[in-house]
């Protein structure tokens, strides 16, 4: 019975008949992290798909026809913003020709609106700090506190698109926030023994994570991805790592290993490859899985190092 009804509704929406109340809202997100949070907040009310996989660098995407097709049929499009997806989202939105999800419409959501970004450049002249996004650092989903903010933003958009389901959505969001608080205590406990551990990261993508869990990022491997570090930078970094006794070099799976390996040979620090997103490693299916995995990997690596 139920299946029949759902099938009828699905066929109905495929035929471009006005979707009835039971058809799930079609949500397209730029990253798996956003999709995971949408699933928490929307539950069965939504059908969500991410345009990038967790194993991909969300800065870049080679658009395939199916991605644009999905955006053209979406009711809600959600992006991280702060310039993270500036290389491809505008092109996808133009090609999708879907007025419902254009910036400004109720079906478009940039979840960075309520985030307090770190590293907003105060003076545009300082070039020594490496890669600085003009709007601030966009890797904010790696702080679970920001995950809460994101879930509130998503709930607000879902409620405006599904006003008669507002109560359920609000409940889901509250429940997600509560579970996040609970898990947060667990993650902080696990990371506690390694407070102020000195690490080097490949790029500035772990800033929010490090701040929340008390890691001390003393330097970056490649201040600008794609631009090989200068000899002077490497020299300084090696000296700094030795002086600060940095134990770990944290990098994403999609960056090249050659420079981190060189640093590891020179300083004895260990290279740790960590996925910054849901889906980055098999088995990380939810926003909670991601931080469980990160805490596992980091505590293991740091306990061996010390």
């Amino acid at each position: 019975m139920m299946t029949k009804a759902v099938t009828a509704v699905l066929i109905g929406s495929l035929l471009f008949v006005n979707p009835t109340w039971a058809a799930p809202l079609r949500v397209v997100t730029t990253t798996e992290d956003l999709a995971a949070i949408v699933r928490e907040v929307g539950g069965p009310l939504v059908e969500v798909e991410s345009q990038t996989r967790g194993t991909q660098d969300p800065h870049f995407l080679e658009a395939r026809p199916s991605l644009i097709l999905k955006a053209s049929r979406a009711d809600l499009f959600i992006e991280i913003g702060l310039g993270l997806e500036v290389g491809w989202v505008p092109a996808v939105l133009v090609a999708a020709r879907n007025p419902a999800i254009q910036p400004g419409a109720s079906g478009y959501l940039d979840v960075s609106r309520d985030i307090k970004p770190l590293e907003i450049p105060s003076a545009p002249v300082d070039r020594s700090q490496g890669d600085v996004h003009p709007l601030g650092n966009p890797h904010y989903w790696l702080d679970p506190e920001n995950g809460k903010v994101i879930s509130r933003e998503i709930a607000r958009s879902l409620m405006s698109l599904l006003p008669d389901r507002s109560q359920v959505i609000e409940q889901n969001q509250k429940e997600f926030a509560r579970r996040l608080d609970e898990a947060m205590a667990r993650w902080k406990d696990r990371m506690k023994p390694y407070e102020a551990a000195k690490v080097v990261t490949y790029h500035n993508s772990w800033t929010y994570f490090a701040r929340r869990f008390g890691l001390d990022v003393v330097g970056y491997v490649e201040p600008k991805p794609g631009v090989a570090p200068s000899p002077a930078h490497l020299n300084q970094l090696i000296a700094l790592m030795k002086q600060e006794k940095a134990k770990l070099i944290i990098m994403e799976p999609y960056f090249g290993r050659s420079t981190p390996d060189l640093l590891s040979r020179e300083t004895g620090a260990k290279v740790l490859v960590l996925p910054p997103s849901v889906g980055g490693v098999e088995g990380i299916k939810t926003y909670f899985d991601l931080f469980d995995y990160l805490a596992d990997q980091l505590t293991t690596a740091l306990s061996i190092g010390s």
Binding site: P65, P124, G226
Partner: protein, 277 residues
């Protein structure tokens, strides 16, 4: 095929692909015959230097890249300074050095990553109505110029030092400028990889079978149009990135053409007739 054309963005991509394929297939004949296949990459990379410099100086990137493209094309049109260094080598060198320079400029920029330059290279799936209009306008004008001045533009300038050197140089300059305009517009629509392939591969196929200009242009254009259609269809059917699909499809066309030609030659020889050379 029809299903693909019922989707607005695929329809636009097909339209853009056909316009690009036809224009580039024509110019490609001249580019391959003049032995300057790197001209496209050199020009693309010079425009990237313009973009990088504009961002460093906080200027308008489109204007800057246009100036760099035009000045670069004018420089490349100069006759070989030294006979022992072929024009081809110069083009390759310009490509390599310009790539390096754009990376160096980005290294000195307060924000920005090496891939920021890719923002100025287009993706055929995301082509806009405006871009199609611009292509129609510029390609139409360039086509007209080539039609009117065909006798002057098409001959390959010979050794420098001939008595009409200056005049030959200015026609050559016009050829390069028209080429640069087309390439500048094309890479903003379709990206460097696809434009290079659309320019060179159909011309190579045509040169396998034809000699006279008219048949060369016709064969090249037909090859370009068919392989672009096939590539876009494969991209749609198998959900692959469109640019690389078209390039692979061009590659398949060339491979088939080469096999076809050698088979035909073998048959001709066997039957004792004097086949095409």
């Amino acid at each position: 095929m029809l299903e693909m054309l019922s989707i607005p963005f695929m329809r636009q991509a097909v339209l853009a692909g056909l316009i690009l394929a036809a224009m580039l297939a024509y110019l490609g004949i001249h580019v391959v015959r003049r032995r300057i296949v790197f001209v496209d990459l050199a020009i693309a990379q010079l425009s990237a230097v313009g973009v990088a410099l504009a961002m460093l100086l906080d200027q308008d990137p489109i204007g800057f890249s246009l100036v760099f493209t035009m000045v670069g094309a004018a420089f490349l049109s100069l006759p070989a300074y030294e006979q022992r260094i072929p024009q081809e080598a110069i083009m390759g060198i310009v490509y390599a050095v310009a790539s390096a320079v754009s990376i160096l400029i980005i290294a000195k920029m307060p924000h920005g990553e090496a891939d920021i330059l890719n923002l100025f290279f287009g993706n055929i799936l995301a082509v806009t109505d405006g871009q199609i209009g611009l292509m129609a306008l510029t390609f139409g004008s360039v086509g007209l110029v080539h039609l009117i001045f065909a006798k002057r533009l098409i001959p390959i300038p010979t050794e420098p030092g001939s008595s009409f050197l200056l005049r030959a140089m200015s026609w050559n300059l016009l050829f390069y400028l028209t080429l640069a305009v087309v390439i500048a517009v094309a890479i903003r629509t379709a990206g460097v990889l696809l434009v290079f392939s659309d320019l060179i591969i159909p011309a190579a196929v045509a040169l396998l079978f034809a000699e006279r200009l008219r048949s060369l242009v016709l064969l090249s254009a037909v090859t370009g149009v068919l392989s672009n259609l096939a590539g876009l269809y494969a991209s749609y059917r198998f959900d692959l990135p469109s640019g690389p699909s078209i390039v692979a499809s061009l590659g398949v066309f060339l491979a088939l053409a080469m096999i076809g030609k050698s088979v035909a030659l073998t048959i001709f020889r066997r039957s004792g007739k004097s086949g095409p050379k």
